[in-house]
């Protein structure tokens, strides 16, 4: 299959309303890198070769569609096609600036040489310094230049003109310093207008995320940690502003974490939106910068031939990250069981960290099961975070009426090594007419009051 090159140039009048990345051509080059590795920048244009990837993307038209180059309105770029890179560039040079009509590709029956012969000489960059001389020679097109004797051409205008001509006609290979994707993602963005409120930053950040996606895809990575920085307007910057996002300098920052490396920009955008909703900007913002802090190679999933029953919905990590981004990390808890005799130390509800729960720190899993069978059933299903002091009278403890002690005492004496957290308690199962079965305890030491009543506490409900 013959090579197919595309030369591409940004239109001069880029739309002024949208925020533009500082180097839009490089941003586009990353997009093209998803399609082909042969991408190079020549002056202010981008050339790339797509024939090798056409079949994978379902044809040339589908591939151009994938790059957003189909149809008459190609947005902010104009492009031309050709069998060699210089041919494509030459055709691009013939497109008058300011228009967006792509140069019509030649029909399949026209040989590349014949199509190239008609191109004007100013479209060949190497020949441009010699244009007046060539014009006086009566030489205006590529075909006329090529018809001149090669030896004389090389002596008169230099070997590089001849080499460029050979390259344009496909007699020499197209070799360029190819564009490579940087190791770290760090993209700045200048906003079109000053942004006063943090949630409005999301609009600009969305462009950076799209750029990040192109970078991630080109490197086959997933992102785990991201940093978004914004520069505060220096004229109104109050350097004294201190909060979680501003450290008193002229910029603010925000970090995004995901538990699993991801390429899902929709998820990152929602996380960013939740985070930005809680940021208060002390001064307007003009510049944004997005950096990748931690990335991980993303294994590609092998897909099954047979359709399997996929459960609809998003993944657990995404859901929990979203909830903790909106409600706070303390609102997503998971349980951790510890080996201890004190009920309040037997479990701990800790903020969900994303990592799978570590192995039980003190007990072996088998021991958990055996112990659980023996004693766990005697524990209540609700355990109050702090024991609730009960009214006690001579007849016994009261909780919404008198309590009947059904079982007990179960004497607990533990934690004497730890000092202040030592407990001396007698646990009882009690029945309340209103609340069902309760787990209550009596403090054993130094708790007898002069009138003979004792300190009773409610510690759990058998529900």
């Amino acid at each position: 299959m013959s090579a197919h090159w595309i030369a591409l140039r940004l239109k001069d009048a880029a739309s002024a309303t949208a925020p533009a990345p500082s180097d839009p051509l490089a941003a586009f080059a990353w997009q093209v890198l998803q399609v082909t590795p042969w991408v190079a920048q020549v002056d202010d244009a981008l050339v790339f070769e797509i024939s090798a990837s056409e079949r994978l993307f379902g044809g040339r038209a589908a591939l151009l569609d994938c790059l957003g180059l189909s149809g008459p309105h190609t947005g902010t770029v104009c492009y031309a096609q050709g069998a060699t890179s210089l041919l494509a560039l030459g055709r691009l040079a013939c497109v008058p600036p300011g228009t967006c009509t792509p140069f019509p590709p030649p029909g399949p029956h026209v040989a590349p040489e014949i199509a190239a012969n008609a191109l004007p000489l100013h479209a060949l960059a190497r020949a441009r310094p010699h244009l007046p001389t060539l014009a006086r020679l009566g030489c205006h097109t590529w075909g006329q230049l090529r018809a001149l004797p090669r030896g004389g051409l090389a002596r008169r205008f230099g070997a590089d003109v001849l080499a460029a001509l050979d390259q344009a006609y496909g007699l020499r290979p197209d070799i360029y310093p190819w564009i490579r994707v940087p190791e770290l993602f760090d993209a700045p963005l200048e906003l079109a207008a000053q942004v006063e409120s943090a949630p409005a930053l999301l609009f600009g950040a969305r462009r950076l995320l799209a750029q990040l996606l192109a970078w991630l895809r080109a490197r086959q990575l997933g992102v785990q940690r991201l940093e978004l920085r914004w520069e505060l307007d220096a004229r109104r910057s109050n350097a004294q502003h201190l909060d979680a996002h501003h450290q008193g300098s002229d910029h603010g920052r925000l970090e995004l974490h995901t538990a699993q490396a991801t390429q899902d920009m929709r998820h990152l955008e929602r996380l960013l939106g939740e985070q930005l909703a809680r940021v208060r900007l002390p001064a307007p913002v003009l510049y944004l910068r997005l950096r990748s802090l931690a990335t991980q190679a993303l294994p590609t999933e092998s897909q099954s031939l047979l359709p399997d029953s996929v459960r609809s919905g998003d993944s657990l990590h995404q859901m929990l990250e979203r909830v903790s981004a909106r409600c706070g990390a303390a609102q997503v808890l998971c349980a951790q069981v510890y080996a201890d005799h004190r009920p309040e130390r037997m479990q701990q509800w800790q903020a969900w960290s994303g990592a799978p729960a570590p192995v039980q720190p003190l007990r072996k899993p088998a021991a958990v099961d055996r112990d659980a069978d023996a004693s766990g059933a005697l524990y209540p299903t609700w355990l109050l975070a702090t024991p609730q002091r009960l009214l006690s009278q001579r007849s016994g403890p009261q909780f919404h009426g008198p309590l009947t002690l059904l079982a007990g005492p179960q004497r607990l004496e533990a934690g004497w090594l730890a000092g202040e957290s030592s407990i001396l308690r007698d646990y009882f199962v009690a029945r309340s007419a209103h609340h069902g079965l309760l787990w209550i305890y009596r403090q054993r030491l130094g708790s007898d009051t002069p009138d003979g009543t004792q300190d009773w506490f409610l510690h759990g409900y058998f529900a």
């Binding site: 995404q318 859901m319 808890l333 998971c334 659980a372 524990y379 299903t381 609700w382 975070a385 529900a463």
Partner: protein, 263 residues
Amino acid sequence: MITAQAQQAFVSHPSAEEALQGLHAQVWRAHAWARAPLHTVATGEALLDAQLPGGGWPVGALTELLQEAGVHNEWRLLLPALAQHGSGPVVLVGPPHPPFAPALLAQGLQTQRLLCLCPGAFALDTAQKATPPLAPASCLWATEQALRCAAVDTVVAWLAQVRPHQLRRLQLAAAEHHKLLFVVRSLQAQHEASPAVLRLKLSLNDQSHVCVEVLKRRGPPAADLVQWAARSAALQQVLAAHGAPDRPPRAQMPPARQMRQRP
């Protein structure tokens, strides 16, 4: 309209009932269960299963549990189903107290499966500062997010203030993503309209047994109260050893319901 074939069926079959059933497969009679195939999870209590359409908790539908404010007797009712159904996380949204994981583990629910969202009512830890309770809207939002998550099997939500249209949204989410969803509410909601497929009222009798009354189900109105010992077998043994009264007969017709049954 009875065709000749149907008349034949009447004559040949001893029971006219059977013949009618064969004829009118599409007709649902009010004293029978709804016929739509239901995916259910057994409750672990045969008497209660018998009262529920499909023989258990409906999956992909909203089940409402109503009980008096401040009283929470739902664990014993829910635990067998939670332990059985799936192996993914069990999401608890807005529990009123910290669940005691060792006790739940002893009754078959793995600790790793427990996830608590929006536990506004209890502090995170003694060392860390208490978290302020969240707005009810956040709890609702978190519930819906949990229902939309592929990995989650069961969601239990304690929603104090919730409007019928919000419940309807949860019901639709549960149906769409095929989740087991329980919403625990206070008894004041008993007379409000609700989109729940199943509504149960939990109360305690004088022996501290949980009585389950089916307020709404897809089928004929329920006549029986199911009484349920609100304690695990091990606890039951301990109580018996201490001379606590044994469990009473578990299904009985209370006088009030009998009055209502009378034409």
